[in-house]
Symmetry: C2
């Protein structure tokens, strides 16, 4: 009897991972799924997953078969509740389909089960459209391939529109909190005029102002040759890669904990908790006006904040997820950059300003829950199958893996990797804690170097590629 | 020798229309294309379209083979310049691939040519993703099918994400300036919780506040049954359909002409004209502060403006295209509605407010220039073929048409419809003028009634459909 849960944002292929696990367990005829996130389990909501229920979801996007939770397991009480649930349900194993935060939870849960003699396997399945959980044998996360194809379709179409209408500069923010893999992949697929990779910006210590300068110079150079359009890709995490805005965000975080700004309530908090929180959140800006915030910053951060409009400064203050990460998806970085470019043009290239008209886009939610591509459908199924096999074998704190996933699926081998091999200490909420390392873009890697070799050519002439909609088989 | 030009925003299939015309003319071996919009012609830029050039563009989206212009032909000088160009190039005919505004231009151009004994056929090809140019034998515009499939893929994915993550209300604005056909089609394809059709709102005289009330009530009803997510579709033209915001926009227009706010410069104005305009535009908000605008409005419009934040009021003042239409694509109606719903919840359903978190989307540019679907590829090709046949026959002021386009292409008949049959007087820039009637959504038609029958069921339970990416053959 194996429980399965989705954790974190959806990724295309999630249902196929469950289908793989179900098929693996079919001969035991005893698959059961726990509904909702970790907290839900403590309320004993669970659903048996029957083959006929599964057949309605396999190859479909989304996580709606089970829903998804997003909550850090941090206290002894959380672990005790989880242990009670698996004991009540008589689970022999638990599959956690999730990204680095969720698999970190899974590792701690496995440890807690071991310490308390709870006989329950815990196996992770590497899921994230960001593709930032890799290493130690995990070669890819399911979801990335599908999301990058949805985003590339949109970005390619925007490029095509740009060179047809010939009058807009499009600023496209691409989802990917801590790693710019999706931005890099879309850049290679669509060849827009400019793409910024967070890891390179961080490595070179480039400021947001430098980024805006570079864009403004390209806008001016293209305008001089009669081209008043262009496409710019920005990674969602841009502000956390630029050193001065990253420092600003850390200072804001400290400032907010000082004045006791409330963290977001967990997903499954009670209604009354949520109401109290919403009221405190509405009150927070009154306690701490933007002008007040600006005054209390260090000199460097005050300068960094000076370029940021009030509306976006408020987004920086208030947007935070339950893992303590800034909720970058709620910050309109693309509008901020477009405004900065306008200001730079006014200062440096007034002639180009007159014809500069910007449009903004965010490639995000529509990529998380779309239909899986052929690769993700097969890969997630294989990972789910591997995870169920490992769980039946009693594995604790491992993550399912496939050797050489880019090879023909007929030659794949399924195996498991200890989660500990992926972990390293990281600072969160002011203290160090072992978490799964994020695998960010390697600026010495093949993908980035292929991009770096080509990008100069893309700036002034249009080398756009329009991939069109993903074509699915079967 | 036939010239061809794209006019207005791109639509998938445009290149196929040119390919159809080229194949039709192949036996004459003399096809030529004029590059750019009407104004460009007067600068004598043109490109011969060879079969090898064409082969790189057929079945691709965008209008980049020729680029596109967007300018009203209004003065005698414009018509004289166009006549000089077709005489210089010795054109026997001109194909205008465009929507209602462009085909209106084509009709006036044909008249001007006839009055001045210019021997040049003028034939329109009905193009617009909005699908609002129909009637008199024109059964469909190419581009609508492709755009609605790109938007439905995105909206379906957003629905899937909503029911997976279970915590966001998504507000999606769908392109379509004067008609809500695209919103209606996406509503029928994806079955989101709420969709608003501009024509129904106008027919019933519903205010923006009524719309926000209805959404807030559904948010509260769903929250009461534990559902804290949802998807709402809004037509791009919403503000021009609600009577009080529509009246407000008309008053703002009058106010702006009073204080001499500059209209946008035409696409191909000179650099110095554009710089002068940009400076006047930057100065306009100083001449006329939002507070000043608010004070000078009628009482009814002042009330309507009271609910609109300053940033969006500025968008209403400044966003206007060269045809005199408000540039609705630059107005963030989806953010405005999300904020109004938040305010309504605070007033009417405070318990539901705590868990209300909104995300906004705009389905627009990515649908205009994507790859054509099989239907649009074939249909646009047939229209182009028909248009070239008509032009060779010397037709003036007609638009290409296909009988029963929903039937098997083998049974299609190609013909032409006089543009005059599509025209009616309309008020623009303060005077009446014959223009092509927009065919808006018929609230007594089959499509709307199918939607109206089903929509109640979609509100409280999730009946989402996720169409996935368009699948192309060939």
């Amino acid at each position: 009897r194996i429980g399965v849960l989705f954790s974190g944002g959806p990724a295309p292929g999630g249902h196929n991972a469950v289908a793989g696990a179900l098929d693996c367990l079919a001969r035991l005829r005893a698959a059961r799924g726990g509904a909702g996130g970790p907290r839900r389990k403590s309320r004993k909501r669970w659903t048996p997953i029957t083959p006929s229920l599964m057949s309605k979801h396999v190859n479909m996007g989304g996580f709606d078969l089970l829903g998804s939770g997003r909550m850090k397991l941090s206290s002894e009480a959380h672990f005790a509740a989880a242990a009670a649930t698996v004991t009540d349900l008589a689970l022999d194993g638990l599959l956690v389909i999730g990204g680095d935060d969720s698999c970190t939870n899974a590792a701690y849960l496995a440890e807690a089960f071991a310490e308390n003699d709870v006989e329950c396997a815990v196996v992770g399945v590497p899921k994230t459209i960001d593709d930032d959980m890799r290493g130690g044998g995990v070669e890819a996360c399911f979801g990335f391939d599908s999301a990058s194809k949805v985003f590339s379709e949109i970005i390619g179409n925007v490029c095509s529109d740009a060179r047809s209408a010939r009058k807009y500069w499009h600023f496209v923010r691409v989802m990917g909190r801590s790693a710019s893999h999706l931005t890099l992949e879309c850049a290679l697929q669509c060849q827009p005029n400019l793409s910024f990779i967070g890891e390179e910006i961080e490595a070179n210590g480039r400021s947001l102002s430098d980024v805006a300068d570079e864009i403004a110079d390209v806008v001016a150079a293209r305008a001089a040759s009669g081209l008043h359009h262009g496409v710019v890709l920005l990674p969602e995490g841009l502000l956390s890669f630029c050193p001065e805005t990253s420092a600003l965000m850390r200072e804001l975080e400290d400032l907010m904990s000082e004045v006791g700004s409330p963290p977001r309530p967990p997903e499954h908090s009670t209604e009354s908790e949520a109401i109290v929180w919403a009221e405190r959140r509405r009150a927070a800006p009154d306690q701490l006006e933007n002008s007040d915030v600006r005054a209390r910053l260090s000199r460097a951060s005050r300068e960094a904040a000076a370029q940021i409009p009030d509306a976006i400064l408020s987004q920086l203050l208030l947007a935070r997820d339950s893992h303590g990460n800034p909720s970058l998806s709620a910050i309109e970085t693309e509008s901020l950059v477009a405004e900065l470019v306008r200001a730079k043009l006014a200062a440096r290239h007034p002639a180009a300003l007159a014809r500069f008209e910007s449009r903004t886009h965010f490639c995000g939610y529509e990529g998380r829950a779309g239909l899986p591509t052929d690769f993700d459908a097969t890969y997630a199924y294989a990972l789910g199958y591997a995870a169920a096999t490992l769980a039946v074998g009693g594995a604790r704190g491992v993550v399912a893996a496939v050797t050489n996933p880019w090879d023909d699926p007929k030659r794949w081998d399924l195996w498991g990797v200890p989660l500990a091999r992926l972990m390293a200490p990281e600072r969160r909420f002011g203290c160090d804690r072992l978490v799964i390392r994020k695998r960010v873009v390697d600026v010495d890697g093949d993908a980035f170097r292929a991009f770096a070799r080509r990008r100069e050519r893309w700036k002034l002439s249009d080398c756009y590629v329009v991939p069109g909609p993903a074509q699915l088989s079967g």
